[in-house]
Amino acid sequence: MNAATERAIQIGILVVILGGWQIGTMTGLIDVFFFPAPLDIGTQIASWVADTSFYRHVGITLTETVLGYLIGTGLGVAAGVWLGLSRSAARILDPFIKGLNAIPRVVLAPIFVLWLGLGLWSKVALAVTLVFFITFFNAMQGVREVNPVVLSNARILGANRRDLLRHVYFPAAASWILSSLRTSVGFAVVGAIIGEYLGSSAGLGYLIAQAEGNFDATGVFAGIIILSIFVLLIDTVLNVVEKRLITWRPSAGEERPA
């Protein structure tokens, strides 16, 4: 099947679903109170996008996401590489890490609001707690799975500890870390949105919470769609970054079987 027919089928599926939904709401088969008409959702999105104050909300959510993401992944990589290299530290800290990771993050949101207020930082903190552990476990695994022969080779060639870190451990862990960076983006957004949803005065999560407060299902659906577009855009950026950073790995198509 070639790309054009696949694309045509995809569009066909979309048209059938949205068309059926629209017709259903118009004939009264679907209750618009629960499932607002696609055209109304479209109109809502269009009116938001046309309004400048909407971009303030997007900007705030984006700032929280990016800050939470950078701080969380930065701490996660540092801690993961450290504990990956130091077995004894890893063994000592293991129960604490497992315990902390077991806490459902949502319950932390009110505590962060208490500590950091209703502003930006309580949301960033929530995003950090979500992102940190994913990156942390991946970085630790990546460092531990360094090929021992490659490591011995580098040591015999005269690498000191810093050389090993820079030229062996980090690059070896890089593909693990990068794959976790992709997954973490979604979690950074989730952290920011939940934080906003539970208590804030701005952001996409706040928009959705407000629409919900008014029983405005159209607004909720529009918010959800905006959010998924938001995550897709960030993911696309990361995809490009990953391709740039890891040039040494065979890409999916040119992988050799042995």
Binding site: V149, V150, S152, N153, A154, R155, I156, L157, G158, A159, N160, D163, H167, V168, P171, A172, A174, I246, T247, W248, R249, P250, R256
Partner: protein
């Protein structure tokens, strides 16, 4: 396959002087009563081996007898359970700076290109970027990889990777060169080219070399001495044969030399029993 390797095959006529250098040279590597164990499993026991400066020693023995283990001990990657190893009269404690090790397995850094891998040893020695790039280019050309400088290991064939590994191990001009089955991944033709190339490089600048191989012909054709290890466990050296064939040698031609064939028969008579023993223990 580049022409750079082919160039080495016709050897320049030189006066043959058997055993010219090594006989009166000082001892470079000395392995004294070394026993290597993994937990309660004793892989090799009471191994004694001396390699003189500029001497090329081949080690042969049945698979799994402990050849790589001995090499790892000389490299300082493994500690002997008992006995001692010295290099250039200094006891080996951990990794030394003056060793080149050609690993049996793939050991290139997958995230570095051929040229970056080759210059690694110089980079760790803090040589200026320009100098090391130039030397690395020259070494890649020596091993016949001109034009492959910017390929990543996954874009090279198995034989090409081995050659990058050789350039990487030799570029720092180590005093002792350890090679673990360096040519076993290569086809017979490439193998001859690489063996001749290795002999040429070694002839230019003689170092102490310990080469492990499964191939007895290769052991004799390249070595000044062939050391036979017994079947494991508790493997030890059973015999050591001097190879008094004149140098420089051409590996393809020397196999037709009657004296080579005599040596082969003698050494094989000794090795054969061990190989059979190691197979009997299989089941």
């Amino acid at each position: 396959m580049s022409a750079a390797v082919v160039r080495a095959v016709p050897q320049p006529p030189m006066p043959a002087s058997p055993q010219a250098q090594p006989s009166q040279a000082k001892s470079m590597v000395s392995v004294d009563n070394v026993t290597m164990a993994f937990g309660s499993f004793v892989a090799v026991q009471d191994v004694n081996l001396t390699i003189k400066d500029g001497e090329f020693v081949s080690i042969v023995g049945p698979t799994g007898c402990g050849k790589s283990t001995i090499l790892n001990a000389i490299a300082g990657l493994l500690q002997p359970a008992s006995g001692s190893i010295t290099i250039d009269a200094k006891p080996v404690k951990g990794i030394q700076g003056n060793i080149g090790y050609l690993f049996q397995q793939d050991a290139l850094l997958p995230w570095k290109t051929a040229i970056e891998n080759t210059e690694l040893g110089l980079m760790f020695r803090r040589e200026p970027a320009g100098v090391r790039r130039e030397k690395a280019m020259a070494w890649l050309a020596k091993v016949g990889l001109r034009g492959f400088e910017h390929r990543y290991p996954h874009q090279l064939s198995g034989g090409q990777r081995k050659r990058v590994q050789m350039a990487q191990a030799l570029i720092t001009e180590p005093q002792v060169i350890l090679m673990d089955e360096p040519f076993s991944a290569l086809d017979i033709h490439t193998r001859h080219l690489m063996q001749n190339e290795l002999l040429r490089l070694w002839q230019e600048d003689r170092r102490a070399v310990v080469m492990i191989t499964h191939d007895l012909e290769e052991a004799i054709a390249l070595g000044d001495r062939v050391v036979i290890l017994s079947a494991g466990p508790r493997s030890h050296i059973i015999e050591s044969f001097d190879v008094d064939l004149s140098r420089p040698r051409d590996v393809a031609e020397i196999k037709l030399d009657p004296h080579f064939m005599d040596l082969y028969r003698n050494i094989w008579a000794s090795l054969r029993g061990e190989v059979e023993k190691s197979y009997e223990r299989r089941d």
